[in-house]
């Protein structure tokens, strides 16, 4: 039997009286890509912020099981939690400026995670950074340039390289193509898809763009008002939506 890499039970988080997300239960298996869709304010971001340790949920359980080692994410000490986040998780922000140090060169940004897990050899850090610049299709001559000189799509690819370099076990992506124009979106999506296949990544991806979900996700959940209203294989949910809201969502996609 395959053990889920992430198991969530009855997770709830509210802001004062406003519900962020309510009684969410789900599980994620190694190598799986899970898409979370829903309208603005439906609790998608609250949910992945809770799962990635950016927010403390009010109730519920989050269990990670990585290499047969179980981690009760909400009941470990802060130092263990931060170490776990640093080594086993990664978070790709919608706005790459949130996930990068803009006054530090591209190479320094990619290398930071390596240095934080103990790399102390400049040459090795540099060559790994170069390798990852190649992987995300950024010209390696740009390694010493500051991110502010990069285009939006390049910034997002840089952020992805920065996050993947230490081979994290679970990767969270919050609207990774949100602020990009369509052709750049396609390129970033293509990159994410090939990295997912090549490295067998386990990803949770939040998006309101159903095309992104269809392209990347194996499974998906649909959220509304903080609860999960529908879940299943993404092809199944998108081809045969059961809930009224999901039907609305699917039918409102423009076909050009």
């Amino acid at each position: 039997m395959i053990i889920p890499i992430l198991k969530v039970t009855n997770l709830s988080k509210s802001y004062d009286n406003i519900v962020g997300c309510k009684n969410i239960s789900m599980s994620l298996y190694p190598g799986e890509v899970l898409g979370i869709v829903g309208e603005s304010g439906s609790g998608k971001t609250t949910l992945i912020n809770c799962l990635s340790g950016n927010l403390e949920p009010d109730r519920g359980k989050i269990i990670f099981n990585i290499n047969n080692k179980e981690t009760d994410f909400l009941n470990i000490s802060e130092s263990e939690k931060r170490k776990f986040i640093r080594t086993d998780l990664a978070f790709v922000h919608q706005n790459p400026r949130d996930g990068l140090r803009l006054n530090v060169s591209a190479g320094g940004n990619i290398g930071e995670k390596l240095m934080s897990v103990g790399y102390r050899h400049y040459g090795n850090i540099r060559s790994l950074a170069t390798k990852w610049m190649n992987k995300v299709e950024i010209d390696k001559s740009r390694i010493d340039d500051l991110p502010i000189t990069f285009s939006g799509g390049m910034l997002q690819r840089l952020q992805i390289a920065k996050n993947l370099i230490t081979s994290p076990n679970v990767i969270f992506m919050d609207e990774p193509t949100g602020g990009l124009d369509v052709s750049v979106q396609a390129r970033v999506l293509d990159l994410i898809r090939s990295l997912v296949n090549e490295l067998n990544l386990t990803v949770i991806i939040v998006s309101h763009d159903l095309a992104v979900i269809r392209l990347l996700a194996d499974k998906m959940i649909v959220m509304k008002n903080g609860t999960v209203i529908e879940s299943g294989l993404s092809d199944q949910v998108l081809e045969d939506p059961q809930q009224e809201y999901t039907q609305l969502l699917v039918s409102s996609v423009l076909n050009v």
């Binding site: 802060e78 290398g111 930071e112 102390r120």
Partner: protein, 296 residues
């Protein structure tokens, strides 16, 4: 100019001897309760080498950035038997050193000296003397920014967490940037160190040439930051290691010259422009050491 009755006459000052002892002040300016509070912070700092202990920094009769932290630490450590030496950039005769020395002469009437070996307490700005420090000496640094992580992480709540959890990876990003820009570690002063294999510490803006002198020193080293309200310390015989990369080891750089006054080849030098044609002279920044060598 406004006319007042109590104009101080300039000729009353004797700059070389300093101001006369003023009995109106408590010994060494600070009141005894404040000194007790600062001594407690110092003891705590000595127990946790490199850890920044907060303290209730007082207003001092000098602007922030002129050594208010160092002065408070010195005032709290002074006894009537102490011999005090004050240096600024290695020199005993620059403005900051002269005025702080006069301040303590006026408020505590203790002996002062320019000779490193004779001093029991030395307050410094930006240098460690060339003459090795010895047992039973207290060495006080003036610190402008005590937080070595401040340039990477502006939130204090976050840097405190980074220290407590030893999350120091970001510190190397700064050194990485130096090498990628300049081919070597360009940071020349305030070069970060790891104290007792635990806390990363800002050694105050001393040149990195002085960093090795902190390691395993027999003297007590105290750091005071007045504006930032922090005290930290290195107890005697403590390991202090400058951060580096395996393939770019720490290099205590100095100018490739000998001192033009005393001829010393292994001391830290000041570069001085001597005329309008751009001619330069290199001289020891440690005036006491240079004078002694010259007079030999």
């Amino acid at each position: 100019m406004r006319k007042t009755n109590n104009v101080i006459k300039i000729k009353d000052f004797k700059v070389d001897k300093g101001l006369p002892f003023d009995q109106e002040y408590n010994f060494a300016y600070l009141d005894e309760n404040t000194k007790k509070m600062i001594r407690r912070a110092i003891i705590k700092a000595l127990c946790i080498p490199g850890y920044q202990v907060p303290f209730a920094s007082r207003e001092m009769p000098m602007p922030y950035g002129w050594g208010t932290g160092g002065v408070q630490v010195t005032a709290s450590c002074l006894t009537k038997r102490d011999t005090l030496k004050i240096i600024d950039q290695g020199a005993d005769d620059t403005t900051n050193a002269v005025s702080i020395r006069n301040f303590f002469k006026k408020t505590s009437n203790i002996k002062t000296t320019e000779i490193t070996e004779k001093a029991t307490l030395i307050q410094t700005r930006h240098r460690i003397p060339e003459t090795p420090l010895k047992k039973k000496q207290i060495f006080v640094y003036q610190v402008p920014i005590p937080e070595p992580l401040a340039f990477l992480e502006p939130k204090v709540s976050e840097t405190i967490k980074m220290h407590s959890l030893s999350e120091y990876g970001a510190m190397h990003v700064k050194l990485y940037e130096d090498i990628s820009k300049n081919g070597h570690i360009e940071t020349a002063y305030a070069y970060p160190v790891k104290t007792n294999d635990r806390y990363i510490m800002d050694p105050s803006p001393i040149p990195k040439f002085d960093n090795p002198k902190m390691n395993n020193s027999p003297a007590i080293q105290l750091f005071g930051a007045g504006r930032e309200q922090r005290i930290y310390a290195i107890p005697p015989y403590t390991k202090v290691k400058s951060l580096d990369f395996e393939d770019y080891p720490f290099d205590p750089f100095k100018a490739e010259h000998a001192c033009d006054i005393c001829g010393s080849k292994n001391t830290y030098l000041d570069e001085i422009i001597v005329d309008d044609a751009g001619n330069k002279s290199f001289i020891c920044s440690d005036t006491d050491f240079c004078n002694k060598r010259k007079n030999k």
